[in-house]
Symmetry: none
Subunit: 204 residues, 4 copies
DNA sequence: TATGAATGAGATTTCATTCAT
DNA sequence: CATGAATGAAATCTCATTCAT
């Protein structure tokens, strides 16, 4: 009770429970505080507000995920430019991503599935948008190699969507990290092959 | 005040606006009523409660969708059993499904994206489960033709997930029905091909 | 539905059910009307308002009870003045009273036990007051025969209270009229004897 | 605002006023809070809900009453078993009971007369049942001494009823504790004598 | 470092009642 | 004879947030 770090930690632990059960919007600060053996005021001492408490849980894991996404995407871009074979890289990327996703499993679940009403409620869409942007450049370069073809924007966006959701789906359905790595492999394989085959359409 | 049906219709129209903007949980009956030029009591005259108002918007479109899903799935099962070629059928199914989905675009969006807190909050999951169940049977029969192979349950479930989400994604990104039909075509093609290739794994 | 008398009757029948179950205050006109296959408006056509509906149920039985009470009390007064023996009369009074009370058992129960919130919520107290008033006169005359004695007002009022409640209690605990007559007999006997013995106190 | 205990106390004081005037069901938390110079939220800070506020008023007095009732009843049982004379004990019991009843007069009135709709709405009936249970045993032993006689169940129950109501009636009609003690004395005397005389009937 | 008190705004829901038709 | 529509007031309750201490 006296150790400040401990109180903060207990608050976060209780908040994780509550957010996971009720979602951000329906979560009650009173219940979180009470469960932590503290009062609502304590939340406002340690965090700015309800959203601040939520941030304290998800911000760091999110940043690490975004970092990995960015690194991978930059690497990927170069690969396409050099027509390199990069199957192994995909697995390396998946491994890194899954490593971080499962490092704080609860936080990740909360961020991806229970953020409605919070400042993060569109996080999945924002990640998709991020991917989209990179794919845009990549696909344009790819298309330039095939005269008479152009990028199918809809498919491109759908691939971004599908790729992000593949990981979200994984998190939801496979709580074990080792199993997760095995299961995502054919999924990625499928998507990579499909990307090459379906991303271009006839230019009329 | 004037036409009886008009008030109910105004209430539903206002509710659609509010649900779409705020989602079920955060939508305010006060605002809905006021926007319709009525009082909250009127909502309880025309509908049972907040959930009843929501149902009045989404129940019928939902039922039509489920009907089409079921019809298609039964047909699909027979096809696999007879090794028939059925690409055309997929397009017919997509056409029917999209036809209904776009018949009341707003209702569909509300049902699929803004139902959290309502009795329909798990509707997408329930649709996925429905698909999953049918695929289960289908895949088992398919697997029986290939000794040494078995169904990859994870991939199977992911395909259900992906298929439903492909339509949800479509709805979200393509408000025009005609365009929607064109855009979903390669997506379905991609998924059908993938299904055959990735649904089985080595039996150890 | 078309016969007006029938509608009114159905409304009253449904109201009896609802009042008995919920009490006047918590009874819902909507539920009463619906149960009668009508709408709330119908209540206002046949009765003035919620209280009017209640009155339609209890007014007549109440009046008959009051009539009997008054008749008995006037007779009783004369008896005391003439020192007559009147045990049989008590039983006759009880028989008449119980006859009316059980003539419309439900109405009586509603009037005596479920009237809170209605215009009749103090009916038992008013009946007690009525009795009290008559006893007042009677006891004063009785006391005038015993120098050094005076009426114990508290006991007098308590006897009124007890007498009324004896019948209320009977109604509540014995739904059968014939049984009721048997059971009330020793109760009345007890009270009559007690009245004579305890109604006077020493005048200091 | 100022003294913390003061707000809670003001809330309880206002609640007593409102409950006494309107009864539990029709009492308004808004009015109670406003009268206390606070908002409804304050009620929910200090108490769990409307029933909790009611409990805060009546729970303690009630428990003390029940305690006295139980003690007296156990003592009474022994007395009958030993054919002891115990007139004095009745007065002691009455004194104790009245002492507690008048310790918080308003709370007692609210509990006994204005609890409809609350968790305590059947408290008088429960007290009667408690008494009834004890009398059951007592009367059975008494009856065993008189061959050819049996307990008149209806009278027995009516005595329980009458005894409890004698105190309720007292509370209602005599706000002064000292006066109350004097007034209840002949009432108890009357009931004790009656009990012995009327509790048995011929066994057929 | 945190509490305890309290606010103020808002939520859904229920109700008796009215009235044009 | 009765409906169907609608009101307006009120109800309990929940919540994030604030702030003096």
């Amino acid at each position: 009770m006296s150790n400040p770090n401990e109180s903060r930690a207990r608050l976060i632990a209780s908040a994780k429970k509550e957010f996971k059960e009720k979602g951000f919007a329906k979560a009650s600060l009173r219940k979180i505080s009470a469960d932590a053996g503290l009062t609502t005021g304590a939340v406002y001492f340690f965090f700015q507000d309800k959203n601040g408490l939520f941030s304290a849980i998800v911000e760091e894991p999110l940043n690490r995920i975004l970092e990995i996404l960015r690194e991978h995407l930059i690497a990927d871009q170069d690969e396409v430019m050099h027509y390199e074979q990069h199957d192994g890289d995909h697995d390396a990327f998946a491994a890194a991503l899954i490593g971080e996703m499962y490092a704080d499993y609860d936080a990740m679940m909360i961020l991806l599935h229970h953020a409605q009403g919070s400042a993060y409620e569109n996080i999945v869409d924002r990640m998709i948008a991020l991917l989209d942007e990179y794919y845009q450049t990549m696909a344009a370069q790819y298309a330039s190699l095939f005269p008479g073809k152009r990028v199918n924007q809809y498919m491109l966006h759908w691939f971004s969507h599908m790729q992000i959701n593949a990981f979200v789906h994984l998190l939801e359905h496979e709580p074990d990290k080792t199993q997760a790595l095995k299961k995502i492999s054919p999924v990625l394989d499928f998507m990579v092959k499909g990307f090459m085959m379906y991303i271009l359409e006839d230019d009329l």
